[in-house]
Amino acid sequence: MTVKVQQIDQCRWRIPREGAMRTDGLVFASSKMMEDLRHDQALEQVCNVATLPGIVGPSMAMPDIHWGYGFPIGGVAAFDADEGVVSPGGVGYDINCGVRLLRSNLTAEEIRPNLGRLADALFLNIPSGVGSHRSDFKLSINEEKRVLLKGAAWAVQQGYGDAADLECIEEQGVIAGADPEMVSERAIERGRAQLGTLGSGNHFLEIQQVEAIYDEEAAGVLGLHSGQVTVSIHTGSRGFGYQVCDDYLKVMLKAARKYGITLPDRQLCCAPLQSDEARDYMSAMACAANFAFANRQMITAGVRETFERVLGKGPAALRLGVIYDVCHNIAKWEDHTVNGKLRRLCVHRKGATRAFPPGHAEIPAIYRKIGQPVLIPGDMGRYSYVLTGTAGAYEETFGSTCHGAGRVMSRHAAKKAARGQDIIGDLAARGILVRAAGRATVVEEMPAAYKDVADVVEVVQQAGIGHMVARLKPMAVIKG
């Protein structure tokens, strides 16, 4: 299928409504990115999302867009509460995959002599890799149900972190409406030993240093300064979330038939938001989102414990505090003004981050004057970014922006490109230590497999759907 694309300006492209599309597509990308996009199926996926019932505004894609399954990765779509649908494929298998950023009281110079020991200890202390599980505990079924209801607060109550952490998590670390009765026994079983584990693939734990500051005032509010050590955690709801998604895709395939919804791709199966099927999914999805918040909270506790032990310093000296924690695979009920009218919408963000503007009531009070912190990881060889949400994003993209670099190379192409290269050795020579469960992941996740996240962030800044605050450089990367 050839997708017609019209350039609007330097970083916006319109896909005019045609055929079964109910609305236009809107893609944020540079000319170079658009040239690359014409070779894969991501634009077609933007069109497919535009065919779903009750879509409000355009079917959008952020500049880290790439070919996904059903929705494109980087996709944002909002649906009317009465006429719209919810689609598990618009959230993804890794429900509430997200990023958490910790600040510290340490400088890069100060930890450099102990960096190898820190990386080794984090690799041992935080279970990672395929099928990673905790050997120190396995949740009882009843305890896991409490995790699903309480999210990050459950972990804090068990001693994994402080109550102050909860203030700086999207939704304070718990999405309302979770109902464990809407989750299968199999999902519960898969989650029991996986809380507090990183997993594999593109998930990581990274020690970083603040390399550049673009907005001194906002950085000051976030507690960031040049040369400072930060820690990023990128993971989600693990096998629990994958099972919830899989279970509800079957429900939604049946629902789509029942409600007469025509699907251009089965993975877009969905149900009307007012149906029992949709309500059940939203309750189960909230359980998985809360599992992910608790997961990142437990890993945070593991990071703190590891830093304290290796560096021989207490919490007061390290001050490893949560800057923020964002979801980038989620569907949420939100109120947005559309054509001057306030509307209740279900906003799907599949590989996209909420980016609410300064003054928004859902932003922690300490950040309200700068906007919501937005965490954009790059690849393991270059850099990550800290942005803040903007009024532009709130007006144009339902308060959404990009979520990362976005892959540009397939896994096979990455393997081919890595032949004869010592990726771990090359990164070590540049001062970046990598600890990984296997070489295969490192090869497939090599820096060149991703777009330069600086290009993605530049488009976001130009379009006014994100504001650059700081750039973080990796020092040590733990991969599953």
């Binding site: 399954y69 890794d94 898969r190 994958y242 397939s410 896994r411 096979h412 295969a440």
Partner: protein
């Protein structure tokens, strides 16, 4: 689209972020087994495994494509649950929406097995299953 040949009966397909599996076989049973072998190769590469333990699986679905995806997701589940490296798949189709299978393999051993990548789930994106003049053909894409 580029395809990577592993063995005789299936191909691992290129995708920007994920991967796909495509198989052809003379019989419906052979097709379901070949797709599962492709999935195993995607996760464990060419790690050799012995048929030491078995899992008995029953899968029901609403239509043939859903049965294919559900069958492969059963394999993902058993690999994760029992830390299993599959060696042999014996599929017994009951109808085009129901099958029984026996999955035999052994527990993952770091000394002998390699994990190439984690499969989160097998998706319905562009999933297809069809009868061809020569036999059967199927394709799925997998979330990694």
């Amino acid at each position: 689209m580029l395809a990577v040949t592993i063995g005789n009966s299936f191909l691992l397909l290129e995708h920007t972020a994920d991967m796909g599996i495509e198989a052809r076989a003379g019989s419906y049973k052979g097709l379901l087994e070949a797709m599962a072998q492709g999935l195993t190769a995607m996760i464990y590469g060419d790690s050799p495994a012995a048929a030491v333990v078995t899992a008995k699986i029953l899968v029901r679905a609403e239509d043939p494509v859903e049965l294919l995806v559900s069958w492969l997701n059963e394999v993902v589940y058993w690999c994760e649950k029992d830390n299993l490296v599959p060696a042999v798949f014996q599929v017994e189709p009951i109808s085009d929406v129901e099958l029984r299978a026996v999955l035999s393999g052994e527990a993952f051993d770091m000394k002998r097995h390699v994990v190439e990548r984690q499969v989160k789930s097998v998706t319905y994106h562009q999933a297809c299953l069809e009868k061809t003049p020569d036999g059967w053909y199927a394709r799925v894409y997998v979330d990694l």
